[in-house]
């Protein structure tokens, strides 16, 4: 094992570039999947005729497919259907849609957990359905969703490594190139990359714990 060669300045810089791409990818996908996930979750909660059913079926299919398949499909299947995406955006689209499907389930059950009595009280006090949703159900529900949503974000960050199959230059891809130099640096490189992922995710989970324990 050769830690010196594995952690040479060139290799470290190259891995950091990969980490930068991983973080960019995760950030964009987190924002998009949160927005889309909330919208889908509310649609499913609100029981809009036809639409809620349709969204429900779509979410069910996407949730139950491997993300690896979705990423590959977004990159090489969609173009056959006329939608061309660069590796970065293919990864974004696949990650956002997949994680949004997961988040929509969290949002829906979070909203469902808001007690009937609370809702009825709000309506009785003269709030419209829309107002009740905005001022009562969403704030209460969202607070309860914070922990599962954050762990979904951690999953997302980990899942960005799957973009390796579409040759996107993120952390795992760059690690593969570094590991190609010599067999003796494979294990040191893997350990470093694992540590990088761990550090980012652990930081994220600490932030989440802070949020959770914040007085409501």
């Amino acid at each position: 094992m050769d830690f010196g060669q594995a952690y040479s300045p060139d290799n470290l810089r190259f891995l950091m570039e990969g980490l930068g791409m991983t973080l960019r990818l995760a950030l964009v996908a987190i924002i998009l999947s949160f927005i889309i996930g909330c919208v889908l979750g509310v649609i499913r909660y609100a029981r809009v005729p036809v639409l809620s059913k349709l969204v429900g079926i779509l979410v069910e299919i996407i949730r139950n497919l491997p993300l690896l398949l979705l990423i590959f499909f977004a990159r090489f299947g969609l173009p056959e259907l006329g939608i061309k995406l660069s590796p970065f955006w293919a990864a974004i689209v696949a990650l956002s849609i997949f994680e949004a499907a997961m988040i929509s389930e969290i949002v829906r059950s979070g909203l469902k957990s808001v007690e009937k009595g609370t809702i009825e009280a709000a309506r009785a006090s003269g709030l419209s359905y829309m107002q009740t949703l905005r001022h009562i159900i969403l704030p209460i529900g969202l607070r309860r969703m914070v922990p599962p949503i954050v762990s979904q974000f951690i999953s997302l960050l980990k899942d960005t490594s799957l973009a390796v199959i579409i040759s996107l230059a993120e952390l795992t891809h760059n690690a593969n190139i570094v590991m190609g130099q010599d067999i003796s640096i494979v294990l040191p490189t893997l350990l470093l990359v694992a540590a990088l992922y761990f550090a980012v995710n652990y930081a994220l989970s600490i932030v989440a714990r802070r949020l959770e324990s914040k007085p409501t």
Partner: protein, 217 residues
């Protein structure tokens, strides 16, 4: 619209892939259930060292991508003189990774049984083992089964990682079929269909159990 010959000319590849995916998932499930139970017991044990080990294990594997864990088995272990093929490394990686999540589910299930019940059972003369057997575990199982079914579902989906290390699973064979047909959309449509055949019943079962246990609990 969909070219059925993709399926008819390569059904054997799809079938072998599907079988291996199922096989890898079942083995990893059995392994991760056993390992996860041990880790969960560690985490709730009164012994500080065991607790710390359990916590470290869970935190470690929950925060590292599955692909990295599989690479560790596939590319990392050979540096220590242990060479495993893609299927075995992939399955082991899946097992270790999933066990962290299963450990958490089991721990949550056990902790969800109110402390008062244990105390009541103990004071009415039951031993610790009897209390676990007749009071705590039956209740914990109800809480634990739905999330574990869910983990199994994740496991089946995650097993597609085997495709990246030549692990002979459905995803891997899908790639081989694609290299032959050049028809990406249809080839992977069928791959998707086969995954859904495995995962949709699991998703349904998980929801059904959640509802039933919620009612009876």
């Amino acid at each position: 619209m969909i070219d059925l010959t993709v399926l008819t000319e390569h059904w054997e590849s799809y079938f072998i892939g599907l079988r291996n995916t199922l096989f890898a998932s079942l083995m990893a499930l059995a392994g991760s259930f056993a390992l996860g139970t041990v880790i969960a017991v560690f985490r709730i044990s009164p012994i500080k060292v065991l607790q710390a080990c359990g916590t470290a294990y869970v935190e470690l594997f929950r925060n590292i991508p599955l692909l990295l864990v599989v690479y560790m088995f596939f590319l990392g272990l050979p540096a220590l003189g242990i060479a495993l093929n893609g299927f075995v490394s992939g399955t082991l990686g899946l097992m270790v990774y999933t066990s962290a999540f299963i450990a958490e589910a089991i721990r949550a299930g056990i902790l969800a049984v109110p402390q008062g019940q244990t105390e009541a059972a103990r004071s009415s003369g039951l031993t610790y083992v009897q209390t676990m057997r007749y009071v705590v575990l039956p209740q914990a199982v109800k809480i634990v089964v739905p999330p574990i079914t869910n983990q199994f579902l994740n496991l089946v989906k995650n097993s597609s990682i085997l495709g990246v290390v030549a692990g002979l699973d459905l995803m891997y064979y899908g790639d081989l079929v694609n290299a032959d047909t050049y028809n990406t959309v249809d080839t992977y449509m069928f791959v998707a269909l086969f995954y859904l055949i495995l995962t949709l019943p699991l998703a349904y079962a998980s929801r059904l159990m959640e509802r039933r246990f919620a009612r009876s609990g």
